[in-house]
Each structure stands twice: as structure tokens, then as C-alpha cells.
Amino acid sequence: MIDDIFVFDCVIHVYDMSDRNTRSDRLAQIGRESLLKIGSGMRWAGYAEQDLRWDKRWSVEEIYEMVFVDAPTDMAMAQVVPIFDWFDDYFAPVEAQHAMAARYPDRVLFCGGTDPVHEGLDGALAQIDLQVKELGARSMKFYNGHDAGRSWRCDDRELAYPLYERCAENGIEVIQFHKGQPFGLQPLDALSPLDLQAPARDFPELNFVIHHLAMPYFDEVASVAARFPNVYLALSGNLNLVITRPRMVQEQLGRLLMEVGVEKLLWGSEAALAGGPAPYLRAFMELEIPEDLRSGYGYPQLTDSDRERILGRNFAELMGLDLDARREALATVPR
């Protein structure tokens, strides 16, 4: 906890950018370099840069140390990243995320992931069944923007809707999408959040989480989240920029508090790629919406109640967890 606020990180990745998992072709190398550059841009300057390698396969113990020992995180969700474009076993493999949750069941939830182009629709549906029923996935993560013409649309009734239906059949209520923030030479337009409007309308029993504020589609994602009651925004990596680009974060956060509502905003650290979350959490606790934005744009001030919601309560409610009960239960669990 930080300042007595329960921290529930909605997205960490036990990722694998080792040479062994990365293909040797030119696009794969460009893709990996792009991921590494984006990661370093989000990372706290001086976060042991000289001592750590980021192009590797992380162990669950290293991630635990970074997220739960070196930072005041109470719970987190380990998410598969089904980027197959340049990696043999996805960017953040199924096995590694499941291993993290299995090793630390009190603190980590497993979010599965699959891709209907890479695995074929039948294969992806089978993966949903397997990851939910056998591996205990509590949510599913998808990534629809890919290079080499392999992107798909979230509102594709033949390819995407069966995924949502299968999730619902398995009792999964939270569907997550990486949007914006393309890696390598992936097409940006495939990562617009606009193709999530139809699924949000057609599957009101599901909740859709959009990550990264779909940058650079900020206007679009703010509109979608404001209008669709079942669309949430994961500030995954976005709040990390408060240290290097505070004004941008203040403008974005102020607008989201005003137009979307604090109940829909979720803290996500993006560890390990973005480094350990400790400095970002402290910076967020000290963040304020400055007077000129409050006066000039009408953005409301960020309050302690907002911080409590963003850092954990919102995601706990979304995942159906009793936050106060978890707080009590974890009080006796050693870090």
C-alpha cells in the first residue's frame, strides 16, 4: 500500500524478448527494438539502467521483486501479450503469466491471451477454453494490430465476435485490448479504439478495457469511454510519463476525470518493460491538476479519493473482488 491506499496493478508482463524467443528476420529485429525503445521511454531515468538487461526472458521471481518488494503493490494481473509477429511464443507468453499467478496466488491474477489469426479461430477458441478452465484465467487480452497484413478488426462479426461469445460462455466478463502505441512497423490505424464501439454495444454483459489511452487516439478513446458504460481505460504506462512529461499527463488525466469519470480509470504499471512501479506510484501520489488547467479547461482537482479508486478500487470492483477483504487477508501475507 502507498499512504494506506491499496495498490492493484491491472497490468504487468512476464515478457520474453530473449534471442531465443525472437525471430532473426529484419521485421522481428525492428519490432524488438521498438518495444525496447518504448519501454525505455516510460522508464524512470536511472532505474538501474546500467545493471539490467531488458531484452531477455524475465523470471517470475525477478518480476515479484520489482513489483511487490521494491514497490508497494498489493495485487497485480499478469497479462499475456499475444504479439506473435516477431516472437515464437508471444511477447509475454501464456506459460510465464500463468506461472506468475500460480507462484503467487494471493497477489497475482492470470489474464490469458490468444490471437485468431495466428492460432486460427478454432485454435483461439480452444485456447480460451483451456486458459480459463485449466489455467484459471480471469480475463482475456487481445492484440489486433499486426504487421505483414495480419491485423484484424475488433468488430469483425466472423472473427472477433466468436471470441467474445466464448469468453462469456466461460464466465469471463473482462475483455482487454492493447490500443494505439504501435510497435515496429505495425499499422497504426488497426490500433484505433473505434472498432470497439460495436462490440461494446453488442455485448453489454461484457466489460472492455482499453490500454495505453490508445495514443495517439486520445480524443477517440475519451469519447468511446465516456459514451459506452462498459468501456474502461487502463492507464498502462501513461502515468509513468508523469516524471518526464508531467504537463501531458495532467492534461490527459484532468480531461478524463471530467469527461469519462474516475470510476473508469485503472492503474497499470507495465512492469517489467517500464521498470519498477515504485517511483511512478510516488509521483502519482504527488500529482495535482494545476490551477491554469482547472481554470482554463474546467478540469477538476485530483483528490485522494480519486487516487484510491485509480490505484486499486476500480479494478477490484471490475474483477469482482472485495477490496477491503483482500486488504485484510494480505495483511498477514509476507512479501
Partner: protein, 111 residues
Amino acid sequence: MNAAPARVDRNALLARIDQVSAAIGAHAGAIELLEVSEAGVVRLRFIGMCTGCLFRPLTMMGTVEPALLEVPGVTAVEAAGTRISTEAATRMRHYLGDAGPPPLPAVQARP
């Protein structure tokens, strides 16, 4: 010590919400009730054309909030998309005027 807020008559509140929605309906929008807390805080959702509209704070402060605060027991009114800074709220009150907009008809319970 402050007295406990009067319990909100849900039928009266819903009747007032219907009235407000009828007024907002001129813009093809409406409001719907999400919940009422023990303390009398009413949480609403804007629907129809109001959803995502940038004028929601104005509609809230100028029309919705004063109408619902007239319902006995209602202490505050909240809705996503209407939260603004104190600076903006002060400015809005100034331009709306102390008297506020014309009052809506008195609350009537649903039949």
C-alpha cells in the same frame, strides 16, 4: 451536530427524474438513476444524445442538480462527465445567476 438527512422518497425522485428527462429530451437526451446513498447522494447516468456531450456540466448545474435537490432528502447529485473544477463551477454560477433557471413544476409522485 447535523441532523441525519431525510430518507429520499424513491417515487418522488423518479418522478422528478422523468420531468428533467422530458426537458432534456428537447436535445434527444435523458438521465437515468443509478443509485441513491444513505446520505442522499444521487448518482445518475446521462443517456441518449447527452452521452459524451461536452455540455453535460452545464446541463447538470443549470437544470439537473437544482431540480433534484428540491426532492426532500437529496443532498448531492453526481454523474460521470459532469465533474468540473471549483474555478469552472464558480464561473458557471456567475453566468447562470443567483436565481438559476426557471423552476420546474413541483414534484409529483408517479401514479
